[in-house]
């Protein structure tokens, strides 16, 4: 499908304007059978509310946790998730793929 993360970026803007701390997580690279293509994104606010997906549910919890740090520090982070990556992050992709996720603060 050609459709994109229509409401996610709008939500990012709306939340930020409403005074919330907001982070955006975007899949920037994939290897193997990753569940969501590069460009897929997840928006997270400082209440832990999120919209969108970077993996179809496998690693969102970890991304949200990291996003909280990014909202605090303002410094972007690159996260990597993969099936053989148990040492770095205690979650992986059951599909066997690997993804890199860029997390940045909005605003």
């Amino acid at each position: 499908m050609l459709d994109r993360d229509e409401d996610i970026l709008k939500a990012a803007e709306d939340w930020q304007k409403a005074g919330r701390g907001v982070a955006l997580a975007t899949v920037v690279e994939t290897w193997g059978s990753a569940p969501r293509p590069a460009g897929s994104s997840l928006v997270i606010n400082d209440e832990g509310t999120f919209l969108g997906s970077v993996s179809g549910g496998c690693v969102e919890g970890a991304v949200v946790t990291e996003a909280m740090d990014v909202i605090q520090s303002g410094k972007p982070k690159m996260l990597e998730f993969g099936v053989a990556d148990e040492t770095a992050w205690n979650v992986g992709l059951s599909c066997g793929g690997t993804i890199r996720v860029f997390v940045e603060k909005v605003g």
Partner: protein, 233 residues
């Protein structure tokens, strides 16, 4: 992402204008490049390629790791003619991700029973088309075989610079159509943009096969660079 970049990105998306967000994934620096500015950008080759593919990707340039996030509008397909071919074409196009609308003033053809779940406008093109915001991300197909309906629709497609314009009919029928459109003031370069006979030459016979040939041709125009596109056709 800076708020002004996010705001501009959302405005461009709402206006259905393609943009690419370039992010240096080490420093976090970002810039938004509008498609009309690609030609004078140092990354123009990469930007052109990724937009054509409609795919975001990481690239390395000038010793920097950059992520190119492509925001291309959802492609639309406007079908003039609620005919048998359109009954196969509309659901096929929708499965490929297009927003599909069918226009036909003949209410016997444009009936919801024949087109379940497909937006259908039973009006003449002059009434139906202006509100549809036909644009450069729209593929436009005229298949009624009736010049009273197809011709004004094609003139509208020229004016809106659709990325693909196709019309049903043999070479002979198409030559006559060219004469009629010319008489109505169409430019030679516009008439030359019409794909007719419509669809890639794959020997399509049934309405479903013709629909496949049409969507294959539209896909080639959307995704291939001009040279390779000519080879495919």
């Amino acid at each position: 992402m800076k708020l002004d970049i996010l705001h501009e990105l959302n405005a461009e998306r709402a206006a259905r204008r393609p943009v690419i967000l370039v992010t240096d994934t080490e420093s976090g620096e970002q810039r938004l490049v509008k498609a009309k500015d690609f030609a004078r950008d140092p990354l123009r080759a990469e930007l052109d390629k990724q937009l054509r593919m409609g795919k975001s990707a990481s690239v390395e340039a000038g010793g920097k790791k950059l992520f190119l996030n492509v925001y291309a509008p959802t492609a639309k397909l406007v079908i003039i003619g609620a005919v048998h071919i359109s009954q196969a074409l509309a659901p096929l196009a929708r499965s490929l991700g297009y927003d599909v609308t069918v226009v036909d003033p003949r209410t016997a053809f444009a009936s919801p029973e024949r087109f379940p779940d497909i937006p259908l406008i039973a009006e003449w093109p002059d009434t139906a088309l202006p509100p549809l915001n036909v644009d450069a991300y729209t593929a436009f197909v005229a298949v009624t075989h009736d010049p009273k309906i197809d011709d004004p629709a094609l003139l509208h497609a020229f004016e809106r610079n659709c990325f693909y314009i196709g019309a049903l009919g043999s070479r002979k029928t198409h030559a006559k159509r060219g004469d009629r459109l010319r008489a109505q003031g169409a430019k030679e370069s516009d008439i030359a943009r019409i794909h007719a006979p419509i669809g890639l030459a794959i020997g399509a016979v049934s309405p479903s096969e013709i629909a496949v040939a049409i969507m294959a041709e539209i896909t080639a125009v959307l995704r291939l660079p001009p040279k390779e596109r000519e080879e495919a056709a």
